[in-house]
């Protein structure tokens, strides 16, 4: 449902952009490099994550991202980005605190749609759409002796980006973005699942092992605003 809404908004914006009575789209980028610092809000797709976070405030959290773009062909850019998300929460049906940190590294392509020979405001707007690979460095810290206090896992997923860029001046831009990340984290691979839950275990001391692991959907919407420059 949310994907549908997202794409409906995207298509509306895109169609409204291209339907204005202007001439053709600008072909050349006019820059080689672009750097953007973005600040957004991450709304997790995973309902459990939202519930956990909601117990300490909001269902999502702030997302910080830095990106470097290189124009490779006409209006097509290659972008490398690094982001960081962190949010506290509380275990469901418990009072133990938990904290999720998700640094990511993304690598993708973005295509910008610019216009010329229109009014000055429209000229400075670019609409972009992109996609790429995003690597999630998931880290979970828990305040409970009955699960792993520090669980880490690295996994690769994908992303889709849409948004607008506004050239405030030469070399300075404002970025409005709507990203969607997707990746379902599987904490255990074949060899480690349920090893910690041997029913005939007779150890005396706690072993900091959970009863079992659960998949976590790391995907979700990120939207926000950024500032940057083009060179």
């Amino acid at each position: 449902m949310k994907k549908t809404i997202f794409f409906t908004i995207f298509l509306s914006l895109f169609c409204s952009y291209v339907s204005t009575t202007c001439n053709y789209l600008q072909e050349e980028a006019g820059y080689d490099w672009a750097i953007t610092i973005k600040n957004g809000y991450f709304h997790p797709r995973d309902k459990v994550l939202r519930c956990i976070f909601d117990r300490c405030g909001k269902k999502g959290g702030y997302w910080f991202e830095g990106a470097v773009r290189r124009n490779v062909w006409k209006r097509l850019d290659v972008e490398a980005s690094g982001s960081y998300f962190r949010k506290e929460g509380k275990a469901l049906c418990g009072t133990e605190c938990t904290r999720v940190s998700i640094p990511t590294f993304g690598l993708g392509l973005k295509y910008f749609f610019s216009r010329r020979d229109c009014s000055c405001c429209i000229d400075k707007f670019s609409f972009f759409v992109g996609t790429g690979l995003r690597v999630f460095f998931y880290k979970e810290k828990n305040g409970s002796p009955f699960v792993n206090p520090c669980f880490k896992k690295t996994t690769a997923g994908g992303m889709v980006n849409v948004g607008f860029e506004y050239d405030v001046r030469e070399h300075f831009l404002i970025n409005l973005f709507f990203d969607y990340n997707f990746k379902k984290l599987k904490p255990c691979d074949k060899n480690c699942c349920n090893q910690n839950c041997d029913p005939y275990r007779t150890g005396i001391l706690t072993s900091c092992c959970p009863s079992y692991f659960c998949n976590v959907d790391l995907g979700g919407f990120v939207f926000g605003i950024g500032l940057g420059g083009k060179f």
């Binding site: 938990t98 002796p145 005396i204």
Partner: protein
């Protein structure tokens, strides 16, 4: 004002009425006077049935003649009161002494005693049967006398079906030596009969005395006694009664070694027919024991040897009790170099060895003399020992409880009799559920009176429930079992055990305690101790999904005694 007055009055009544001012689910104190004032009473004995009813017998001088007679009272577990049977408090005519009593699971009892002290004294063994249904003492067939003249030291045991065996020593008319004799009470004919091959158990050419008898659930019995072999020394002998053949063994078995001077044999049996005989070896002043193995029909020495006590310390007066699985507890008195103290050891049927409990071998505290220990066990292996001990001014009656799960005796002894007057001759009986009753005599300043105190184990926590709860972390789950139960009055903490196949968890329990419970516990691993609270609950973390677990919750009182466990499976 009125409200405060009501509260005060209630509190006062709470501590004035008898049977109410007790503490912590343990001994119901102060003790209850069983015999009436005005004449001295002594030699109490007591027995208990599985329902918690008890019968106490004792000797008391008759109010009119001042001659000794046997009296009895019955403890009614339902009404929590000592009552006189419908036939009255007296069992015997005048000139009766040394009563003994045994009970069967239905609450019936057999009492035996010596009667007749008018010169020339007949000294016969008499017996009566208590009928639980009619609440009356009756005389079985063919009469109240079950022995001839000049019989002494009667003992009696009953089996679960209501049959009984009585043993005594009697002067043989031909040899003028004491001989051990026995008769069997048959419930279905309500009569005393002589099993084959005859009434005599011991060799009439040898002097025999101090008989004791025990029975198993099938009606078999073992009798032990001391025999004087004519060469100075005494030996302990035993004979087994076979219920199937209704006959005693032809030849007695010598239990103690030749050339050793022995006395005070005692015997206990478990329901399967195994037995332990214990005695005092006067030659080396040690307590010794042998075990009868029902499977091999033989007397054997345990792996740890025949001796229970250390040499040269004047050990004496041993007593022994067995539980339903062949374990036993033995108590005796012994000098520690300064005072006479009470010691105890436990026989472990699995390892066939006598061992010191985790709390050590001594039961009574140093500094004062203690003696005359008695012991009883329940079916789970718990035990209660009673003894008399000086408090510096008088002798008082003390008790300790052995907890089989923790392999330990109570940390402190409970004073059963009130200070200020001498008390002695303690006896104790226990039923399979762990209830117990102790009796003794105590001076009231003028005469001795028989007193009794009841022990109630801490009840099992009621309404124990377990439910599963999932504590969800982002990528991990802590599956918990939440245990809740109703608070038990009088406990200071609860112990929680888990099925031994699924050990783990833990909170504030030391490793040594966990290991101890693993080694000794028949109910799994101790996983936590929590203080008493109004609505006790405990969360067991890190459970495995799809695996069944059983938990046990036990209340613990101030003395460290465990109560009856409640269990729940989830």
């Amino acid at each position: 004002m009125i409200k405060k007055a009501k509260i005060f009055l209630f509190a006062g009544l709470f501590c004035i009425q008898p049977h109410i001012c007790f503490s912590a689910g343990e001994w119901e104190l102060p003790a209850t006077n069983l015999s009436d004032p005005g004449q001295s009473a002594f030699s109490p004995q007591v027995a208990m049935d599985p329902a918690g009813n008890a019968i106490a017998v004792w000797v008391r001088s008759d109010d009119l003649t001042a001659l000794p007679r046997i009296q009895s009272k019955r403890y009614n577990a339902e009404t929590d009161s000592w009552v006189i049977p419908t036939t009255g408090i007296y069992l015997s005519d005048s000139e009766a002494d040394v009563p003994q009593v045994a009970m069967d699971p239905a609450g019936n009892a057999i009492a035996v005693w010596i009667w007749g002290a008018v010169f020339p004294p007949p000294f016969r063994i008499q017996a009566k049967k208590y009928d639980a249904q009619t609440d009356s003492w009756v005389v079985p067939t063919p009469g109240i006398d079950i022995s001839g003249d000049f019989a002494f030291a009667p003992q009696v045991a009953m089996d679960p079906t209501g049959n009984a065996i009585a043993v005594w020593q009697r002067i043989d008319g031909g040899t003028t030596k004491f001989v051990i004799q026995a008769k069997r009470y048959k419930k279905n004919t309500d009569s005393w009969v002589i099993p084959a091959p005859g009434i005599d158990l011991s060799d009439p050419t040898e002097e025999a005395f101090s008989p004791q008898v025990a029975m198993d659930s099938a009606g078999n019995a073992i009798a032990v006694w001391s025999i004087y072999d004519g060469i100075i020394t005494d030996r302990v002998q035993a004979k087994r009664y076979n219920a199937e053949t209704d006959s005693w063994m032809i030849t007695a078995t010598n239990l103690s070694d030749p050339g050793e001077n022995t006395e005070n044999p005692q015997v206990a049996m478990d329901p399967s027919g195994n037995a332990i005989a214990i005695w005092h070896n006067k030659s080396n002043d040690r307590i010794q024991a042998k075990r009868y193995d029902a499977e091999t029909d033989s007397w054997v020495i345990p792996i740890t040897g025949i001796n229970l006590s250390d040499p040269g310390q004047n050990a004496a007066l041993p007593q022994v009790a067995m539980d339903s699985t062949g374990n036993a507890v033995a108590v005796w008195q012994i000098s520690d170099g300064s005072n006479v103290r009470i010691q105890a050891k436990r026989y472990d049927a699995e390892t066939d060895s006598w061992v010191n409990p985790a709390t050590g071998i001594y039961l009574s505290d140093p500094g004062q003399d203690a003696g005359l220990p008695q012991v009883a066990m329940d079916s789970a292996g718990n035990a209660i020992a009673v003894w008399q001990r000086s408090d510096g001014s008088n002798t008082i009656i003390q008790a300790k409880r052995y907890d089989a799960r923790t392999d330990s005796w109570s940390t402190t002894a409970t004073n059963l009799s009130a200070p200020g007057k001498n008390a002695s001759q303690p006896q104790v009986a226990m039923n399979p559920a762990g209830n117990a009753v102790a009796v003794w005599k105590r001076s009231d300043g003028s005469d001795f009176r028989i007193q009794a105190a009841l022990f109630f184990p801490i009840p099992a926590p009621s309404n124990l429930i377990a439910r599963q709860k999932v504590r969800r972390f982002p990528a991990q789950v802590d599956l918990t079992h939440v245990l809740c139960w109703d608070a038990v009055e009088g406990v200071v903490k609860y112990r929680i055990y888990a099925d031994s196949n699924l050990g783990d968890i833990i909170t504030n329990v030391s490793d040594n305690e966990k290991i101890s419970s693993m080694l000794s516990g028949d109910i799994g691993i101790l996983i936590a101790e929590i203080p008493a609270q109004t609505k006790p609950c405990f969360v067991v973390h890190a459970r495995c999904p799809g695996v069944k677990m059983t938990y046990y919750v036990v209340g613990v009182d101030e003395g460290g005694n465990n109560g009856i466990p409640a269990s729940v499976t989830i």
